[in-house]
C-alpha cells in the first residue's frame, strides 16, 4: 500500500486547489464547489489517518470514518442553504457574480 505521506499530500494539494478557487473565482456557484473540494480534502485526511490507527481486533477504532459521515451531512446541508442563497441572489440581482453583492463590504 502507498505510504500515508502521499495520501496526506494529496489531501493538502486538493485543499490548496480549493482555497485558490474560492479566492480567485467570481462565480458564486463555483466558489461553493471549491468549498466542497476543501471539505473532501479534509475527509481524505480523516480516512487516511483512520487507516493509520485502525484499533485492534475487538476494539476497532472507526472515529475518522464516523467524522467523515458527519462532514458529508454538514456539506449536504451547506450546499442546500448555499444554493438557496444563490437562487434568491439571482432573483434580486440577476447575477451570481460576487462582485455584484458588495453592500456590506467595508
Amino acid at each position: 500500500m502507498v505510504p500515508l505521506d502521499h495520501v496526506i499530500g494529496l489531501s493538502a494539494v486538493l485543499f490548496t486547489i480549493g482555497v485558490v478557487g474560492v479566492a480567485t473565482r467570481r462565480n458564486l456557484i463555483v466558489m461553493l464547489m471549491s468549498i466542497e473540494l476543501m471539505l473532501n480534502a479534509v475527509n481524505l485526511a480523516f480516512i487516511g489517518f483512520n487507516r493509520m490507527w485502525p484499533g485492534e481486533p475487538g476494539a476497532i477504532a472507526l472515529d475518522g470514518q464516523v467524522f467523515v459521515l458527519m462532514v458529508i451531512a454538514v456539506a449536504a446541508a451547506e450546499v442546500a442553504v448555499g444554493l438557496g442563497i444563490v437562487i434568491s441572489m439571482f432573483r434580486n440581482r440577476d447575477s451570481v457574480d460576487v462582485e455584484v453583492v458588495s453592500l456590506l463590504r467595508w
Partner: protein, 166 residues
C-alpha cells in the same frame, strides 16, 4: 509497484487534474460541475483503497449523486451565460492567492512527512457492520444532531428559495 499503489496514483492524478480543471474552467459552469463529479468518484476509489468501503459508497451516493445534481439543477435553472462575468479578479489578488496556496502547501507537506507505516487491519474494518455499530452506540448523539441539522437546512433552503415571504 503493486496494483493498489498504481490504482492510488492513477486516482490521485485524476482527482488533482479534474480539481484544477474545475477551478480554471471559466467559461462553463456545467463543465465545472462535471469536473467535480470526476474528483468525487476518484476520491471514492481512494477511499476503497484505504479500506473505507461504506464511506466510499456514501461518497458516490451523496456527492456524486445528490450534491452535484443539486449544483447542476441550479446552474440550469438560472440559465447562466458565459459572458455574465467580467474579467477575473485583479492580478494582485490572483498572485496573492497563488502565493498563499504555495506557502500553505509546502507547510502542510513538511508537517505531514515521515509518518509511520500503516499497521495491519483488524477484521471487519470499515465495513457497514462496524461503522453502523460505531454510529449507533458511541456516536448516537451525533447522528441525532445531524438529523436535526438536515431538517433545519431543508426548512432554511425552502424559505430562502421562496419567491416572497408572506
Amino acid at each position: 509497484m503493486t496494483v493498489p499503489a498504481v490504482l492510488f496514483y492513477a486516482f490521485a492524478a485524476l482527482a488533482v487534474l479534474s480539481a484544477i480543471g474545475m477551478v480554471v474552467q471559466v467559461r462553463n459552469t456545467v463543465a465545472s460541475a462535471m469536473s467535480l463529479v470526476i474528483t468525487m468518484v476518484a476520491l471514492a476509489g481512494i477511499y476503497v483503497l484505504l479500506e473505507a468501503h461504506l464511506v466510499a459508497v456514501i461518497q458516490i451516493m451523496v456527492y456524486g449523486g445528490a450534491i452535484v445534481v443539486l449544483f447542476l439543477f441550479v446552474v440550469m435553472l438560472l440559465n447562466l451565460r458565459s459572458d455574465d462575468f467580467g474579467p477575473a479578479r485583479q492580478r494582485l489578488v490572483r498572485l496573492a492567492a497563488a502565493a498563499i496556496g504555495v506557502f500553505a502547501l509546502t507547510w502542510m507537506l513538511r508537517l505531514f512527512s515521515g509518518l509511520p507505516e500503516a499497521p495491519p487491519l483488524p477484521e471487519g474494518f470499515g465495513g457497514y457492520r462496524e461503522v453502523g455499530i460505531a454510529l449507533y452506540t458511541d456516536y448516537v448523539l451525533l447522528v441525532e444532531v445531524a438529523s436535526l441539522l438536515l431538517t433545519a437546512a431543508i426548512v432554511g433552503a425552502l424559505i430562502l428559495a421562496k419567491r416572497k415571504i408572506d
